[in-house]
């Protein structure tokens, strides 16, 4: 399992941003069993929950747990809302927000 030690203080840098983007796409591909190329093609407006048939509540739970493990963040019940899960951009912004203050 990959870890992202470089993401901590450098999250604002372009390299950190690209690493987070790559990690998040890889993670979605792993959880949903997607072709890595399909995940790599996600843009900010690509639909997730409600758009990808693979992403049911069990898969969302798995995705969030895996994000916690790989990104070293804690996701609370209250964090989980439609907006963060609706698009890839929403999920990326959420992950960035969780990592940002460190």
């Amino acid at each position: 399992m990959t870890t992202l030690p470089q993401l901590g203080p450098n999250i604002d840098s372009e390299a950190g941003e690209a690493a987070l983007d790559r990690e998040l796409k890889g993670l979605i591909a792993d959880v949903l069993g997607l072709d890595p190329e399909q995940a790599a093609a996600f843009g900010p407006d690509s639909g997730l929950f409600g758009h990808l048939p693979e992403l049911d509540s069990m898969a969302v739970a798995g995705l969030l747990t895996e994000m916690e493990d790989r990104l070293g963040i804690v996701i609370e019940d209250d964090d989980v809302d439609g907006e963060m899960l609706e698009t890839y951009g929403g999920l990326l912004a959420f992950a960035r927000g969780k990592l940002g203050p460190r």
């Binding site: 399992m1 959880v31 739970a61």
Partner: protein, 229 residues
């Protein structure tokens, strides 16, 4: 080969007959397989049996007992406890003459400590519960019901919970809140990263990965040959 074994009942009740999938040809190395739990049991079943087939081809017996209360078992799942599953796996190991144990994910929580072997991608009790609770709160949210993990776990400690369709008793919930896999002497951890690829328990649906099964089986065969020199 599907056979049965008699699982002793807790507190002196009558033994119950439980099913067992085995590649049993009476060979010297006999690996007890402690399976993954709940939703992960389904997702990893094929992978688990594929690893067993490869070990069979390598001259190793494997024995995969059902956890009491799961699959064809006639005993009640909500009455099962972590301590009981642990004792059931230890009894199975003795009765079946296992020489080693391969524990998969949460199976590591019930691996007999007296056998050498491997914990593959061991899962802790708190993480297992967290994933199941989260799936339930997300599904509830979608249905317009507000449930929080905190409220659910408080309820679960008192009266048990149904999580991911599995009816889990209060004692099991309380035990899982602090359960951590422990490597006994002669047991080693196999991390997912060492067999390459994403863990199949992550997938929404049961899936297959022959390459991962090859690599896990090869690692076990190598570990056995190193141990015997």
């Amino acid at each position: 080969m599907i056979v049965t074994w008699n699982c002793p009942a807790p507190e002196g009740g009558s033994p119950t007959e439980e099913m067992l999938l085995a590649f049993d040809r009476g060979r010297p190395v006999r690996v007890l397989v402690c399976p993954a739990w709940f939703d992960e049991a389904n997702k990893l079943r094929r992978f688990t049996v594929e690893v067993m087939r490869r070990l069979d081809a390598a001259g190793i017996d494997t024995l995969l007992p059902d956890l009491p209360g799961c699959n064809e078992s006639l005993v009640s799942l909500p009455l099962q406890t972590l301590a009981w599953w642990h004792s059931a796996m230890t009894s199975a190991a003795e009765m079946l003459g296992a020489t080693h144990v391969l524990a998969i994910r949460a199976g590591a929580l019930v691996a007999p400590p007296n056998l050498p072997g491997w914990h593959y991608a061991a899962q802790t009790g708190p993480k297992l519960l967290r994933g199941l609770l989260r799936a339930r709160t997300i599904a509830a949210h979608e249905a317009g019901i507000t449930e929080t993990s905190e409220d659910l776990i408080a309820l679960g400690r008192e009266s048990g919970l149904t999580l991911g369709g599995w009816s889990i008793g209060a004692a099991m919930i309380r035990e899982l809140e602090t359960a951590e896999p422990v490597l006994a002497p002669g047991q080693s951890a196999i991390a997912q990263s060492t067999i390459d690829g994403a863990g199949l328990w992550l997938r929404t649906e049961p899936d297959d990965d022959p390459g991962q099964a090859d690599r896990l089986a090869a690692l076990i065969v190598r570990s056995l040959s190193e141990a015997t020199g």
